[in-house]
C-alpha cells in the first residue's frame, strides 16, 4: 500500500526551539545513535573486504575491457558490519513496536519462514536447471497454488506476478485477452471507486484503459446506482478492493458482481486486504473473476524496507485459459512446469517476467500456511478484525471515526474533523506519534476522507501492546485538544532527524553521491 502526500505540507515549518527538547551534542551522535557517513566518504577506494584467488589479466577481449575507474569503495568486514548496523538503528521496524500502517499489513514475520527459505534445496537451485532435478520445488509451487485456490474458492492461479501491482497488471491482461477472444475487444473502460489504491488506475491506464470513477455512498461503500449507471457495453472491468480501503466490507458485493457480469464486464478484486477475511470468506463465492494476493501481507513474508513482495493472481473459470506462462501441471508421480504456451494452452496472454515468480516468497508463505492451517488462518482474520474494532472503540470518543456506524474490518479509519481548531494537522499528529515510539498510521489515504488516518494493528498485536498504543494516542489527542501545539508542529523531536525538506529534494534532485564535493544543500 502507498500513502498519498497530496495536500500535506512537504517542507518543515520554522523549527520551534528544539533545544527545549534535545541538548545538542558536539559530534552529531546522540547516545546510541551514531552519525554515519556514506561509504563513499570513508576513503576506502583501494580496499576490499573479500579474499579472492589471483587471476591473470584478460588478454582476449581487446577494447571491450574496462580501463577507467569505476568508483566503488571497499569495506573490511568489521567496517561493513558497523556501517550497516549503525544505519539499521535509524529505522523503525515491526520487531520494535506496533506499526499501524493501514492497508500495508505490518504483522510479525515468523522466523521459521526465514529459516526454511534458506534451506539449500530452495535457496541454491537454479530456475533453469533440469525439471527432473527440482521436483520438490515444483511440487511446493503446486501445493501453494492448491492452498491459494482453496482459500479463495477460485479454480486457477497465476503464481508469477512479483508484487501486488504486478498482479493487478496480470489480472487486467487476462481480462483483456478474454474480451478479445470473445469479440469484446471494443471494451475500453475500467470502473474503480475514488477510494481505490493508486495502483488500480495506474495499472488500468497502462493497459490502455480509460478509468472512470464510481461514486461512494455516505457509509463508505460503492454506490450501486452510480455503478449501474456507468456500466455498459464499453466497460471491460470493475476494480474494487474488498474489504475496501476504508476498512469496510462491501455489503453489496454479490450485487456488484451480478450487475458487472450482466453488463458483460469482469470483476477484478484488489486483494490487498484479503488478510481480513482469509478462512472466513472465499472471494470466489462473491463473484470475483480475478484477485491478486499480496503474499507479503496476508501470508506474512517480510516487507524488507519496500520489497520484495509477491502477487499471485487467482482467476475464475472464464479467465483461467488466458493465464500467463509458466504454470504447474501435476502428473501421478511428477510435476511439470509449463514454460511455453502450445496447443490448447496457446491462449496464455504472455509472460509476466523471466523465470517462475518469487520462489523465496512462495517458500515463506507456504511455511506460514502449514504453521497456521485452515483453523489458524481463519483466526488470523478474526483477530485482525477484533484488534481493529478494539482500537476504533477505544479512540472514538476522542477522535472522529470516518464511518462510526457498524463494525470495521481489519483497519480503523478516522478523519481529521476532531482536530479542527486545534492548529494540529494529520501530518503533525503522525509525526508526534514518532516521538512516542510508534510508526505513524497511513495518512491522507484513502482520498475520500479528509485528513485520513488509517490504522491497521494486525492480528499479531497482544491486547497489552494495543493498550500501550491506545494510551499513547489518547495522551496525544488530549495534548492536541489541550493546546500543546508546539509538541506537534516541531515533531518529531526524538527521531534521528527532524522533519525533512521534501520540496528541496524534488526541486534540486541529488540522486547520488558525486566525487567532487558539492556545496551542502540548504533550504531556500
Amino acid at each position: 500500500m502507498s500513502m498519498n502526500s497530496v495536500g500535506r505540507p512537504t517542507r518543515p515549518e520554522a523549527a520551534a526551539d528544539a533545544n527545549d527538547y534535545v541538548h545538542p551534542t558536539l559530534t552529531g551522535a546522540r547516545g546510541l545513535l551514531q552519525d554515519e557517513a556514506l561509504i563513499f566518504e570513508l576513503d576506502a577506494w583501494d580496499k576490499t573486504g573479500v579474499d579472492l584467488p589471483d587471476a591473470p589479466a584478460a588478454d582476449d577481449l581487446g577494447d571491450l575491457v574496462r580501463t577507467s575507474a569505476i568508483g566503488l569503495p571497499g569495506l573490511s568486514e568489521p567496517e561493513a558490519v558497523r556501517h550497516y548496523v549503525r544505519l539499521s538503528q535509524k529505522n523503525h521496524a515491526i520487531d520494535l513496536a506496533l506499526y499501524p500502517l493501514g492497508s500495508c499489513t505490518m504483522k510479525h514475520n515468523p522466523r521459521l519462514n526465514e529459516k526454511m527459505a534458506r534451506l539449500p534445496g530452495f535457496s541454491d537451485i537454479h530456475p533453469l536447471q533440469p525439471q527432473s532435478t527440482v521436483q520438490g520445488a515444483i511440487e511446493l509451487m503446486d501445493r501453494l497454488a492448491h492452498w491459494l485456490k482453496t482459500l479463495t474458492g477460485m479454480p486457477a492461479v497465476a503464481l508469477s506476478p512479483k508484487a501486488g501491482a504486478h498482479g493487478e497488471l496480470c489480472g487486467l491482461l487476462a481480462i483483456r485477452a478474454a474480451h478479445e477472444a470473445n469479440g469484446q475487444g471494443h471494451r475500453k473502460t475500467v470502473l474503480a471507486p475514488t477510494s481505490a489504491h493508486g495502483t488500480n488506475p495506474a495499472t488500468a491506464a497502462f493497459c490502455g484503459y480509460t478509468v472512470v470513477e464510481i461514486a461512494q455512498t455516505d457509509d463508505g461503500r460503492v454506490d450501486l446506482a452510480d455503478l449501474e449507471a456507468k456500466l455498459g457495453d464499453h466497460v471491460a472491468a470493475i476494480m474494487v478492493t474488498n474489504p475496501n480501503t476504508c476498512g469496510l466490507f462491501e455489503r453489496d458485493v454479490v450485487e456488484i458482481a451480478r450487475l458487472t457480469h450482466a453488463a458483460g464486464a469482469y470483476f477484478y478484486c484488489d486483494g490487498a486486504n484479503f488478510n481480513a477475511i482469509v478462512g472466513r470468506v472465499r472471494p470466489g463465492d462473491l463473484g470475483v473473476d480475478a484477485m491478486h494476493i499480496n503474499l507479503h501481507k496476508t501470508f506474512s513474508t517480510p516487507h524488507g524496507g519496500g520489497g520484495p513482495g509477491a502477487g499471485p493472481v487467482v482467476l475464475s473459470a472464464a479467465l483461467a485459459p488466458f493465464a500467463p506462462t509458466p504454470w504447474v501441471v501435476s502428473h501421478e508421480h511428477s510435476f511439470k512446469l509449463v514454460e511455453q504456451a502450445e496447443g490448447p494452452a496457446a491462449q496464455a496472454f504472455g509472460r509476466m517476467s523471466a523465470f517462475h515468480g518469487q520462489m523465496g516468497m512462495f517458500v515463506r508463505a507456504y511455511a506460514y500456511m502449514l504453521s497456521h492451517g485452515a483453523d489458524g488462518l481463519r483466526q488470523v482474520a478474526e483477530d485482525a478484525v477484533l484488534n481493529a474494532n478494539y482500537i476504533k472503540a477505544r479512540l472514538s470518543d476522542l477522535m472522529s471515526p470516518a464511518f462510526p456506524n457498524g463494525p470495521c474490518m481489519h483497519e480503523a479509519l478516522f478523519d481529521d474533523a476532531w482536530l479542527e481548531g486545534t492548529g494540529v494537522t494529520t501530518l503533525d499528529f503522525a509525526k508526534a506519534m514518532i516521538d512516542e515510539g510508534f510508526h505513524p498510521m497511513t495518512m491522507y489515504f484513502p482520498l475520500v476522507v479528509h485528513g485520513a488516518m488509517l490504522i491497521e494493528p494486525t492480528e499479531t498485536e497482544s491486547k497489552q501492546e494495543l493498550d500501550r498504543f491506545v494510551t499513547a494516542l489518547r495522551a496525544l489527542a488530549g495534548a492536541a485538544k489541550g493546546g500543546d501545539v508546539e509538541r506537534f508542529k516541531g515533531a518529531p523531536y526524538h527521531a534521528p532527524l527532524k522533519r525533512l525538506d521534501e520540496t528541496l529534494a524534488a526541486r534540486k534532485p541529488r540522486l547520488r553521491w558525486k566525487p567532487v564535493a558539492a556545496a551542502p544543500l540548504a533550504a531556500e
Partner: protein
C-alpha cells in the same frame, strides 16, 4: 475486548458479509502444525531438489551462482531492515534511505550512467519498464530488440509493450549480431534493445549502435543479465547507452529458483523524470542536517494515479540491500578481481569443452558464459548428463523452442566452480557423446 467493542461475538464483526458467503467452518485444508512438523515437511520437499553445491553445475542464462559473503545474510536479517516498510516516514527510516542512496550511487557507477533508481522487481521487468519509458521520452511507438536479448526478457517486454499498444520488432536469435538492430531502426523507433554479454554470452561494443540509434532520434537500451561482468567489461554508459537495465542477482543474492531478484535501472539524468520506480534523494532536515527522502514521487502511482510513469509500488528493497552490502565488501578492487576469476574459469571451461570431439564453441567473445554446439539435441543431452550427476547448462530450446537451435547449449561458470568440476563435465560429456 468484545465487551469494549460492544459485540456479543466475533461473528457480529463480520455482519456485513452477505449470508451466502459466510463460512461457518474452516476450509478443507490441514489444520495448524508445530514448528517441528513444518520444518520436517519443508525439509522433505527441499531434499527433492538437487542444489547447485551438490556437484558439477554450469547453469546461467540470466541467473548466476556466486559466493555471497556470510556478512550479507547476517545484515539483511536484522529486524530493522527485514521488518520495516517502504520509507514513507523518513525521520525513522534513514537507515533504509541511506542504503538506497548508496545503492543508487553504486549502480550508477557500475553501469557508467548518471543516475539510477532504487531498484525494480528484476532484470526482465526492468527491461520492459525501460521500453515503456523510451516511448514516453521519444513519443514514438516501436521497440527493436536484438536477437541476443534473453528470450524470456523478450517475452516480458512483449507482454507489457503489447498491453500498452507499443509495437515490437524482435530480430531472429543470433549469437553475434547485436549490430543488426541498426538496419531495423526507422522513424517510428522509440528504442533499440541490445544485450551485452548477450544470452549466448557474446560481449559487444555497442558504441556504433548508440550512435546510430541516437542519430535516428531513438534511445539505446542496454540489458545485462550478469552484473559481475561490469567488473571486467566496458560499461554501457561508456559506450553511449541512454538507459541501462540489469539483473542484479549475481551480487549479494542467491539463485532462489528464479526470485526474488533485483532489477537495476540507470539512465541519463535528463530522462529521470520519465523513469519508473522509486528514487531516493538527498535533502536536509529542519535543522539543516543531511538526510534522505523518496523523491520525484509526482511520477508515481500513489500521487499521479492513471497518469503515473508506471504502476510500480513495491521495489526489491531487501535484495537491493544485499546487493549493496556485497558490493561494499567487494569494492572496485574486489569486483575487478572477481570478474577476472570468472573470466579465467570460463576460458578453462572453453578449452576443456573444445577438446571434446563433436563439440563446437560458438561464442566469439565472452565473460563467464558461452554457447556450444553439440551433436544432436541439447535438451536430451542435459537430461542424460543430469542423470550422470552433471548439471550441464541450459539448452537454448528451453528458452525459445521455435528458434531452431536445438543443438545449442548455454554453459556458465563462476568463481564457485572448482576446476575439478570442469574436468568432470568434459569427461562426462565425452563419454555421453561417444555412446
Amino acid at each position: 475486548m468484545l465487551g469494549v467493542i460492544g459485540a456479543e461475538s466475533i461473528d457480529e464483526l463480520f455482519v456485513d458479509v452477505p449470508a451466502v458467503a459466510r463460512r461457518a467452518e474452516p476450509v478443507d485444508l490441514p489444520f495448524h502444525a508445530g514448528e517441528l512438523e513444518v520444518e520436517r515437511e519443508m525439509l522433505g520437499l527441499s531434499r527433492r531438489n538437487r542444489s547447485a553445491s551438490e556437484g558439477p553445475f554450469f547453469v546461467g542464462a540470466g541467473a548466476y551462482r556466486h559466493h555471497v559473503p556470510a556478512t550479507v545474510d547476517h545484515i539483511i536479517q536484522r529486524s530493522e531492515f527485514l521488518t520495516s516498510y517502504t520509507p514513507y516516514q523518513p525521520e525513522i527510516a534513514q537507515g533504509t534511505l541511506q542504503v538506497l542512496f548508496e545503492f543508487q550511487t553504486q549502480v550508477a557507477a557500475l553501469t557508467g550512467m548518471e543516475v539510477a533508481n532504487a531498484s525494480l522487481y528484476d532484470g526482465s521487468t526492468a527491461a520492459a519498464e525501460a521500453v515503456m519509458m523510451a516511448t514516453r521520452v521519444t513519443r514514438r511507438n516501436k521497440a527493436v530488440l536484438s536477437g541476443g536479448v534473453h528470450p524470456q526478457y523478450v517475452g516480458t517486454v512483449e507482454t507489457l509493450a503489447h498491453a500498452a499498444g507499443v509495437a515490437t520488432d524482435r530480430l531472429a536469435p543470433a549469437i553475434d549480431a547485436e549490430d543488426a538492430v541498426i538496419a531495423a531502426i526507422d522513424a517510428d523507433t522509440a528504442c533499440v534493445v541490445v544485450q551485452t554479454p548477450n544470452v549466448f554470452g557474446t560481449a559487444t561494443d555497442v558504441s556504433k549502435i548508440a550512435a546510430a540509434a541516437q542519430a535516428a532520434g531513438a534511445l539505446l537500451i542496454v540489458v545485462t543479465t550478469e552484473a559481475v561482468s561490469y567488473g571486467l567489461l566496458k560499461s554501457p554508459g561508456e559506450m553511449g547507452a541512454d538507459i541501462v537495465v540489469a539483473e542484479g542477482q549475481s551480487i549479494g543474492n542467491g539463485l532462489n529458483f528464479g526470485g526474488p531478484y533485483v532489477g537495476l535501472f540507470a539512465c541519463k539524468e535528463k530522462y529521470v523524470r520519465q523513469a519508473p520506480g522509486r528514487l531516493c534523494g538527498e535533502t536536509v532536515d529542519a535543522e539543516g542536517r543531511r538526510g534522505f527522502v523518496l523523491t520525484l514521487s509526482t511520477r508515481e502511482q500513489h500521487i499521479r494515479r492513471d497518469k503515473a510513469t508506471s504502476n510500480i509500488c513495491t521495489n526489491s528493497g531487501l535484495c537491493a540491500l544485499a546487493f549493496s552490502i556485497h558490493m561494499s565488501l567487494l569494492g572496485e578492487k574486489g569486483l575487478r578481481q572477481l570478474a577476472l576469476v570468472n573470466h579465467q574459469k570460463a576460458k578453462t571451461l572453453r578449452d576443456a569443452l573444445a577438446a571434446v570431439p563433436g563439440v563446437q564453441i560458438l561464442t566469439p567473445r565472452f565473460f563467464n558464459e558461452f554457447a556450444i554446439k553439440v551433436p544432436g539435441n541439447a535438451a536430451e543431452l542435459v537430461e542424460t548428463l543430469a542423470a550422470n550427476g552433471v548439471i550441464a547448462g541450459v539448452p537454448f530450446s528451453r528458452l525459445d523452442p521455435a528458434a531452431g537451435l536445438d543443438d545449442v547449449l548455454l554453459v556458465a561458470v563462476t568463481e564457485t566452480t572448482p576446476d575439478a568440476d570442469i574436468a568432470l563435465f568434459s569427461k562426462a560429456l565425452s563419454k555421453v557423446l561417444a555412446q
